[in-house]
Symmetry: C2
Subunit: 203 residues, 2 copies
């Protein structure tokens, strides 16, 4: 395209690039179990949850930034791909791969927007602010809901045990304390239903 408007061309190039997130498949399923969820629809689901569950923030926070972080948090997967949270090997170099991907994807934008969106993504990744912790908790809680609504979903398919799921969900305890009893309830229920393995104590 040639619009004689370099800024707008860069912005549209970024928007067009985002389309590729619709092709990045996550491990978990959509709730009718017909297929794996993609990262674009996952991001939509997590972002809209802010409007519903924002009231459970443990302290005053900027809901707008939480929503923006969740809209953005996975766009690096366009280049780096999705790394399954229980994939030990894939997670070893995940941070470095995703940082390089962020340079590339956000680098399509005009410099001021590159800096602005990158700062949001960096904040999410660092997980230190109350907003980042809340966003990270919703990201995990969304997966929990997908799994409990698909007979255990990835827990069942990949034979994950309760201890690892509890470990994975633990940030919710700090990020959205009010949701923690729900998380525990769902995990207990999944164990009782036999779709989440309780695991054996190590010898």
């Amino acid at each position: 395209m040639s619009l004689d408007n370099c800024r707008l061309e860069q912005q549209i190039a970024f928007i067009e690039c985002l389309d590729q997130l619709k092709q990045v498949l996550r491990q978990n399923l959509v709730m009718d179990e017909s297929r794996r969820e993609n990262s674009a629809e996952h991001s939509w689901h997590a972002a809209i949850m802010v409007m519903i569950l924002g009231e459970y923030a443990p302290q005053a926070m900027d809901q707008v930034r939480v929503q923006q972080m969740l809209l953005l948090h996975d766009v690096v997967e366009i280049v780096a791909g999705d790394t399954f949270c229980f994939d030990v090997e894939g997670n070893k170099d995940k941070d470095e791969r995703e940082r390089r991907a962020a340079d590339q994807v956000f680098g399509l934008l005009p410099p001021d927007q590159d800096r602005e969106l990158r700062a949001l993504w960096d904040e999410f990744e660092a997980g230190l602010s109350v907003e980042a912790r809340f966003a990270n908790s919703l990201d995990r809680f969304q997966v929990l809901l997908q799994n409990v609504n698909t007979r255990g979903g990835t827990w069942r398919i990949h034979n994950i045990d309760k201890a690892r799921v509890l470990q994975r969900m633990l940030p919710i305890k700090q990020g959205i304390p009010a949701l923690w009893p729900v998380v525990e309830h769902y995990i207990e229920q999944a164990c009782a239903q036999g779709v989440l393995r309780v695991g054996e104590p190590e010898a």
Copy 2:
């Protein structure tokens, strides 16, 4: 689920219901042309565009409300289905079908959130505020980008002509005037490439 927390149960029921938007297929394609786009990923794409193109608002506006409207604008399709914009028959009772669907879907929420989200959806549908017009324009501009990146997409597949596309895109001229030259540019280009029919004057 029984959480002894009616409010949270209602909120989670709504969030679980939202998953079904991932199954609502739109007419337009994703950019690699491998499949039709669904309404959840379309909503994500349109909502994130607010962060990039918000600066082109023709007057002061609340970007947060625009983003929230775009996250929400299609959820009624969970019940009412997607109505193709060029489907004359389907559009006759679209408003009534979608209003009933909104009662049903937003009605899953606690009453205060039902009112709050319904007000945003009603505002988007009415299209009177600067925020609603901006959101509506991004909704249409997103489809334009999908079509120009898929060799005409739905224009080509459904043999739509230039006059109807211009008519469909016209709200952008008022909603985001700065984008209108881009819209015209893309439409001219699509005609030149033969993926958008110029149409014959009526006899």
